[in-house]
Amino acid sequence: MDTVLTMLRFFLSIKTYLWLTGISMLLFLLGSVVIPKNLAVFSLINDIPLLRWLSLNGEEASKTFWIYLLIAFMLILWVCTLICSIDAVIKRAGWKNAIKVLSPQVLHLAVIFVLLGHGISAVKGYKEDVSMRVEDIQSVRGYELKINDIEFYKKPGDNSTGWRVHILIDGHPHEIEIGRPAFYNGTAFFAKSAQEKKMKAVIGLVNDPGVLWEIIGAVVFVISAFGVFYARLSEETRLNNA
């Protein structure tokens, strides 16, 4: 019982949070120096789930140790945020001043979802690119793809040509262009690049189950942020009127 209480006190302490964020910042700083100096080592880090990348680069521990530490610190931070929020809700929740008390805790919950999304993205999912000409049919990751047509366009003021790919995914027609992927069966399909002369395009397939939690986190964050704004502004109005 004493051990549990000691652990709870550790996680509930603001001092713990400050140490965790302080050290995490130093690790991010270290990473920002290490990555640009070792581009060859880190070349694939953004293309495959983080844990798989780490297992492939096991022999590069001198350049990747900070990522392991960062994962450990983010995990402790995750637990710390969760316990602090539960504690605050239990101790202070009530109908009176509910928005003021609960908004910061819901905001913490959003951060928990976002970190969870990052965690899932680090474990699962895939990214794959395939180069296809118009009328080509290819089977990728269980999806049958066929490009029907590629349109090219340039708007006034643009510094490059844009493209729109008309594609069939398992026989279903989709239009994909820069910034507008197609979503089908949990996978996103991107028109990553296109060549007008050869009438070919690179289609990117992205399956990232962490994105769903990122979206939930983002929505919860925005809603709770409005709660924080509302609570602060009502407090200011109350003080001004007093």
């Binding site: 603001i14 001092k15 949070y17 400050l18 964020t21 302080g22 995490s24 910042m25 991010f28 700083l29 990473g31 920002s32 120096v33 990555i35 640009p36 100096k37 880190f42 880090i45 953004n46 990052h118 990214k127 708007k155 006034p156 003021g157 643009d158 510094n159 490059s160 040509t161 844009g162 820069i178 910034g179 507008r180 992927p181 996103a188 991107f190 990553k192 990117g204 992205v206 990232d208 994105v211 990122e214 983002a218 964050f221 925005v222 942020a225 924080v228 704004f229 602060r232 200011e236």
Partner: protein, 242 residues
């Protein structure tokens, strides 16, 4: 050449305003009028909101700080305000002068998510800078009102900055299929987010209350400036126009 002349003119006017008093206020208002006019001119020149290149973004951040002058005046007018606030406006504007102008738009930037990303980034950074100004006023005057203002401005800045990260993640995912990258730039953006989170939590940690917390908050300004302007040339992060 006319661009440079206009920018130098409002920077000089802001510099004269540092003298304070009635004349300082007049110089500040004239500087702000010219500054706002220049931003409107840039919008017409680009045919698009001026949020696609670093030059315009820095000038919008500077304008955001300058407009916070009226908030300060309403809340806690102090003669010293004009000795401090214009400094932050001048720093942003000074850096803007040295940024290349491209006057073209990448088709990827014609996205509402990109606009949301940059608009909230501008608001967040301007609020962080205004918060730092309030922090300096607190250190100089010892008025608790400025300490509260520093906290509120930084809190709102942090929320807006978080909105910017959400918008940026959605934009980047829709454009490239990833919502976060392991690059020096992204790591520094995360440092900025954690830094101000550290300040917001540290303020309620008793040993940091008052002067230490104010100093931590003010320290966020150089961190933020380095994240936006220093990471690419000094650490070697991939080049971006914005």
């Amino acid at each position: 050449m006319i661009n440079l002349f206009a920018m130098l003119a409002f920077i000089v006017l802001y510099s004269f305003s540092l003298a304070g008093g009635k004349h300082g206020r007049l110089f500040f208002i004239f500087g702000l009028l010219l500054h706002s006019g220049y931003i409107i001119y840039r919008a017409f020149h680009l045919g698009w909101p001026p949020v696609t290149e670093r030059h315009d973004i820095l000038l919008l951040m500077a304008a955001g700080v300058a407009y916070s002058f009226f908030y300060f005046q309403k809340k806690a007018s102090h003669g010293m305000l004009l000795e401090i606030l214009p400094l932050f406006v001048i720093i942003f504007s000074f850096f803007a002068v040295f940024q290349a102008r491209f006057d073209t738009i990448d088709p990827n930037m014609r996205s509402k998510w990109f606009f949301i990303h940059i608009a909230f980034l501008i608001a967040g950074y301007a609020l962080f800078a205004a918060g730092s100004a309030a922090g300096i006023l607190y250190l100089k005057t010892r008025s608790a009102l400025y300490e509260t203002m520093q906290y509120r401005l930084t809190l709102y800045g942090w929320l807006f900055f978080s909105f910017s990260l959400i918008g940026g993640s959605v934009w980047f995912f829709l454009a490239y299929g990833v919502y976060w990258l392991w690059t020096a730039k992204e790591l520094w953006i995360t440092i900025v987010w954690f830094y101000f989170s550290f300040y917001l939590h540290g303020r309620i940690f008793r040993p940091f209350a008052g002067r230490p917390a104010a100093l931590i908050g003010i320290g966020g300004f150089p961190v933020m400036i380095f994240s936006y302007l220093g990471v690419m040339p000094i650490l070697g992060s991939p080049w971006t126009q914005f």
